[in-house]
């Protein structure tokens, strides 16, 4: 029991209600592995970006439900925790190519957007501090670009959906918004299209063929002679040599 004071850097935590003692500096993920859990679900990148390991917890004597990524959240004494590695939120299939980047298209896919009552439970639970309610609000008024920007750090863990009384699948809706913004609302890169055309017409064929024929020594020489674009210049820099351009 907890009276064992010989190991002073251990703290008690409750994993799905069962008590374990774990080193106080561990993350929830390392603490669970330390107790003998072996993850199948609930563990992914171990670096805070994949959304596999969302955990919900309470602190002793506090009714607030808190959240964090198990791989990023350090344990606290008497933490009551569980993982929520999957949430059955509805994701609508849509044909990206023909979907118009307009509010009406998003509304048609996800009419439940209008079930939002601005309770803010989504934002409060988000482990990435995304302003979920705000991007839902932006979408309700048709501002796809703002929703795309505000949802950018979303890791699609599904915790928002798990807390939503309007039963919105916020993270799926945001994904539609980001793709419509990225591919249809923001202007395409003209320099990219120009480069594709240049490659298509074979502009670099000879220069590349020359490199392919070069032996190692010549490659080394060409490599060492490369003009290096200075770090602190803007887009205006141009190389002196025209070989390869």
């Amino acid at each position: 029991m907890s009276t064992n004071a010989t190991v002073e850097n251990l703290v008690p935590i409750f994993i799905m209600g069962k008590r374990y003692e774990v080193p106080e500096t561990f993350t929830i993920m390392k603490a669970m592995e330390h107790t003998g859990y072996k993850f199948l679900r609930g563990c992914g990148c171990r670096g805070g970006v994949c959304g596999a390991c969302s955990a919900v917890y309470r602190k002793a004597g506090d009714y607030h439900i808190r959240s964090g990524l198990a791989c990023q959240t350090v344990v606290e004494p008497d933490m009551y925790l569980a993982q929520l590695p999957f949430y059955p939120a509805l994701r609508q299939v849509y044909d990206y190519a023909t979907t118009e980047a307009a509010a009406a298209a998003v509304f048609a896919l996800y009419p439940e957007l209008f079930r939002c009552v601005a309770c803010n439970a989504c934002t409060k639970i988000c482990p990435m501090e995304v302003q979920v309610m705000d991007y839902v609000a932006a979408l309700k008024r048709g501002d796809i670009l703002q929703a795309a920007e505000q949802s950018f750090d979303c890791i699609q863990c599904g915790l928002c959906a798990s807390r939503c009384m309007g039963e919105l699948p916020q993270y799926h809706i945001a994904q539609v918004a980001r793709r419509l913004a990225g591919g249809k609302l923001k202007p395409r890169a003209q320099h990219l299209a120009d480069m594709l055309a240049a490659i298509q017409t074979g502009r670099f064929g000879d220069a590349l063929a020359d490199l392919r024929r070069a032996d190692k020594d010549r490659l080394r020489t060409l490599y060492e002679q490369r003009e290096l674009e200075p770090e602190m210049t803007g887009e205006e820099w141009r190389p002196q040599a025209t070989v390869g351009l």
């Binding site: 993350t27 390392k30 592995e33 330390h34 003998g36 072996k38 993850f39 199948l40 679900r41 992914g44 990148c45 171990r46 670096g47 805070g48 970006v49 994949c50 596999a52 990023q72 959240t73 350090v74 994701r91 299939v93 990206y96 990435m128 950018f152 750090d153 539609v176 980001r178 793709r179 419509l180 913004a181 990225g182 591919g183 923001k186 202007p187 395409r188 890169a189 003209q190 320099h191 990219l192 299209a193 480069m195 594709l196 490659i199 670099f204 590349l208 490199l211 392919r212 190692k216 490659l219 080394r220 060409l222 490599y223 490369r226 674009e229 770090e231 602190m232 887009e235 141009r238 351009l245």
Partner: protein, 556 residues
Amino acid sequence: MPYPQQLKDLMKQVAATRAQRVAQKQSGWHFPFLSLDQRKEMLNHHPDFREEGRREVRVGPSKGYRVAHEIVDLLEARSRVDPDRLDLARVALETDVLIIGGGGAGTSAALLAQEQGASVVVATKLRHGDANTMMAEGGIQAATKGEKDSPYFHYLDVMGGGHFTNEPELVHTLVTQAPSAIAWLEALGCNFTKSPAGRLATIHGGGTSRKRMHYAADITGAEIMRTIRDEARNRGRDITLLEFSPAVELVLDERGHCVGAVLYNLETEEYFLVRAKAVILATGVCGRLHIQGFMTTNHYGATADGVVLGYRAGVPICFLHTVQYHPTGIVFPEQAEGILITEKFRGSGANLCNVDGEQFVNEREPRDVEAAAIIRECSVKGKGVPTPSGKAGIWLDSPMIELLAGEGTVKREFPGKYILLKRFGIDISQEPMLIFPTLHYQNGGLEYTSECTTKVPGLYVAGEVGGGVHGANRLMGNSLLDIIVFGRIAGENAGAYAKQAARPGALTLDHVRRYHQELASAGVGAERIAPMLLPDYTPPDVRGRQLTAQYQGTLR
């Protein structure tokens, strides 16, 4: 954990030289790059050059090749399934193209195979998108700015970074297909950072001669992955996703053509067969093998399964003796140990400094050189910064970025890392980060062609599981590029092959029997099985109490 007082005191040395270093950078001065000969010398400090870290593999198509013990252990191991017990007549699922791996390469391949009219099954060990693609932060290289850059310079940079050992044909394909890979992603709605007029933002990466690294804030890989995953989900009628279902063995026909795989349902612990006309291996990488004990940036499932599967089926391996250690992994706080700090920090101007606050290497050397320089500074030179747990690290001076590019830049450009370290009480816009090299990338792998074919007909390779394009060292921003370019090629070619040329025969696992015989003859591997599927982080004392004498299932 915030920095303890001892580190806060040491940090003052970095702050003391910061103003001068910022001024130097603004004036255009940079710490001298090493010459090619000096690089070679420096690389002696790289873990790849520790002979005691590797041994010869004694079986299989690349018998005699010396690679890391941890990889040899997997190659010299028996199958998870007994070929005699598996009923090959019971096929659970049939498809045109089976893709093993649900990361960036596998998903790109799925989309392109589907566009050939093929039915596609993607089998992945964890969730769709649980892959290193998701974790790639810095960016994706492509020569898209014709006024100063072209595939010619990209080619030279790739070859130089790989120490001129790369497969030229693969490099040629990589650099000439790069712009169309970016255009494809842009058209699918990927939010690359760009100007209001649509001009893509590009920066330098280690070893680049031109600023050609495109990015989406500091979550480039995640943005790419979630975009193409969303598209694959939209095409769910033709693309079936099998999550938590890793492949444990390839299935060949009597002519040796690849015609499917044995998959394993991790949750129900059942093995089942998928028959396919073509198979694409897109399984990624080996970081969770913790080669030479290094910490890793890789995701939980990075256990080199595809190398094991392909090797047993007869595909040789190449460049696997080189492993990339990312120069900058977090070494403090310990909870975040191994987590990658993107090279974009250095691309944006942050210096590396030793315990005395001195620069000792240009921050934009190729990764292997950079990592070797950090290891040397901490070991041979003894100028590392001591951490509370007795390790050593080097300062990455992120506050410089605020001084160079304006207040708020760190938070805006690196939101992921800013939030992560803020949770630990460290404000990286004000305090430098403590870093050390971390196991990051498998430079080598299965041999494949620029058409993504292998020695085994019907078996295709895409992404990090393959070797050759990066030679002995990959440059930053070329891995995301690799998976998109070769993922698409593999999907297109496998899809077309499945629809036209494939004439699959009867299923056999004879190659597994032969491999087992070879192991027995060499007298190795009887005690090991592979693929590993998942690493095991159970502490030894807990393991010692796990006394179950006999399991019904096969996972454990």
